[in-house]
């Protein structure tokens, strides 16, 4: 067994790794949110009980989402290599990892959003319908606004899931903390590096959760909610 990496180097490794991880997770969360929310809205609206029922669209979207979610992330990572190369002109590194991370997360966010929107009470939506509001206005002013706190929580869940997956992306040269943990901590039997990344990932997870909880509370107007 070789000597443990000196702390100064561990520090260097971890700060670079953290930067890469936050970059991968941040960008892929952003993309997944921007695509996942419209997807969830469409799933919700096209449902048989939705504002714009459309059996065909609903079935197609539902199937795509289910397939996307059933796909193991590692398979997606490998399967998307050529797409990734096409989009970002490289298939390794943090930027390359963003593509499979985002693609994997879009259906996940779509389903979460659909479930969140379902919680908006029917009579609240119908009240808006009877005011003569357009579907677009109802989506914006009622569905999304009423479920904003829950939507933020859902994005938080997604971010933390992506944090986990980004570590996996490291395995195939994605970089980030997962890469540090596996390549140096695990393969070189360096417990100091391994456990430092574990602690750091735990801290990151906690901080992210706290930030999203705070954001959800800030947009929630029901300060004195009885339920």
């Amino acid at each position: 067994m070789r000597a443990a990496t000196p702390w100064s180097e561990v520090f260097e490794l971890l700060s670079v790794g953290t930067g890469e991880t936050l970059y991968m997770v941040g960008v892929s969360t952003l993309i997944a949110t921007l695509l996942g929310i419209p997807l969830g809205v469409l799933l919700h609206l096209s449902a048989p009980s939705g504002l714009r029922p459309n059996v065909v669209l609903h079935k197609i979207l539902g199937t795509v989402v289910d397939l996307g979610r059933a796909m193991p992330f590692l398979v997606l990572l490998v399967a998307l290599t050529s797409v990734t190369r096409l989009l970002v002109r490289t298939s390794i590194g943090p930027t390359a990892a963003i593509v499979p991370l985002a693609v994997g997360a879009v259906p996940f966010v779509g389903r979460l959003v659909q479930n969140v929107l379902r919680e908006v009470h029917v009579s609240v939506v119908e009240a808006a319908v009877t005011t003569g509001a357009s579907t677009l206005r109802i989506v914006r002013s009622v569905l999304l606004r009423e479920s904003a706190p829950a939507l933020i929580n859902a994005i938080g869940v997604t971010t933390i899931a992506l944090l986990g997956y980004s570590a996996m992306a490291g395995v195939i040269g994605g970089g980030g903390l997962g890469d540090v943990a596996v390549r140096i901590g695990y393969q070189r039997f360096d417990d100091r590096v391994l456990w430092s990344t574990v602690v750091l990932l735990a801290v990151l997870t906690t901080v992210i959760q706290l930030l999203f909880d705070l954001a959800a509370r800030l947009v929630d107007r029901r300060r004195h909610a009885s339920t």
Partner: protein, 336 residues
């Protein structure tokens, strides 16, 4: 004015199609409050939802101020919806908006600019007596206050028609009063035609000019409340008037037993003693009491008469305009 003609609506379900409306025809006079009552599953909500343009009837027509609203689509449907204020069943306020924000929603839909919107919202909150709660969120309001906000919202875009489905079902009798007062003001001050679905006869008693009884998707009784209570065969009358124990006096030794219904008499108490002294009969009050239908005092008493001229006394009471239903024998007592 709302005119519903031959409205039918059938829902598919596992146990075969369910007919919710089997040809409903209903006329709500402009500027009146019409109550829709009936047993659970009679089709009341379905009727209200059709008129609210939330449900498409299978056939029939719904006219508001003469325009047929069935079968409209797109922007014309949305425009028609703006003409009809709706207080949906249950909690329908946006929980992320204040009372004022909720009332503003229809105005936003109609594209009213913000400054005008603010003054209109203030007017409406004043109408429902919640000016001081403008900044409260629904979770900071009582059930009755929430319903009043819902009424204010329904009235925001100046509709000619107001629909409310069970607006008081979740409220205690006291709070019910505050919501009914607001509905009554809408009619009186804004001239809105109101259709209110309810299972609470107190609602009919307090604010309805007309009532329609729905059963199995059909209107089985429809008319002015004050006319119906004078109709011995009306089932609305039976539920609106003060209760009379159907067996009261039947076994007694009165010569005649009768139910007397008095509508709008200033001195209902004076009529019966006068009949007793005029015809020299003994008149015993066996049950019943006084109530109010809107502003009108209405009484139903069961009386037992003893004396030779008992029949003449009853006839005289009847001639003064009261409705007299004799109860010769048995607890049914509808025979004249």
């Amino acid at each position: 004015m709302i005119t519903v003609e031959n409205l039918t609506k059938t829902f598919p379900s596992q146990g075969g199609p369910v007919t919710a409306l089997a040809g409903v025809t209903l006329d709500v006079r402009a500027g009146t409050v019409c109550g829709v009552v009936g047993p659970s599953g009679a089709g009341k909500s379905t009727l209200a939802r059709c008129v609210a343009l939330l449900e498409r009837p299978d056939s029939g027509s719904i006219r508001v101020d003469g325009t047929d609203l069935v079968g409209l689509d797109g922007s014309r449907l949305r425009a028609a919806r703006r003409q009809i204020g709706v207080v949906p069943q249950g909690d329908s306020l946006l929980r992320q908006r204040t009372a004022a924000g909720n009332v503003a929603l229809p105005l936003e839909s109609a594209g009213m600019p913000a400054p005008q919107r603010r003054s209109r919202v203030a007017e409406l909150l004043d109408l429902v007596g919640l000016t001081d709660k403008a900044g409260n969120y629904p979770d900071q309001l009582s059930g009755g206050q929430r319903q009043r906000v819902a009424v204010a919202r329904a009235l925001a875009a100046n509709p000619s028609v107001l629909l409310a489905d069970e607006p008081t079902s979740a409220l205690d009798p006291e709070t019910t009063g505050s919501v009914l007062t607001v509905l009554d003001r809408a009619r009186a001050e804004l001239g809105v035609t109101v259709l209110v679905v309810t299972h609470d006869m107190a609602v009919v008693r307090r604010i309805c000019d007309d009532v329609a009884v729905l059963e199995h998707g059909r209107v089985v009784e429809h008319g002015r409340v004050l006319d119906l209570v004078s109709d011995a065969n009306s089932r609305t009358a039976a539920t609106l008037l003060p209760e009379v124990d159907q067996s009261a006096g039947v076994a007694g030794n009165h010569d005649r037993v009768a139910d007397v219904v008095l509508v709008g008499f200033a001195a209902v108490g004076a009529l019966l003693p006068e009949a007793a002294s005029r015809f020299d009969v003994q008149l015993a009050l066996l049950g019943g009491g006084l109530t109010r239908l809107g502003e009108t005092p209405v009484a139903r008493f069961r009386v037992g008469l003893t004396g030779e001229r008992a029949d003449s006394a009853l006839e005289w009471i009847s001639d003064t305009g009261a409705v007299v239903v004799r109860t010769p024998k048995g607890p049914q007592g509808v025979a004249a």
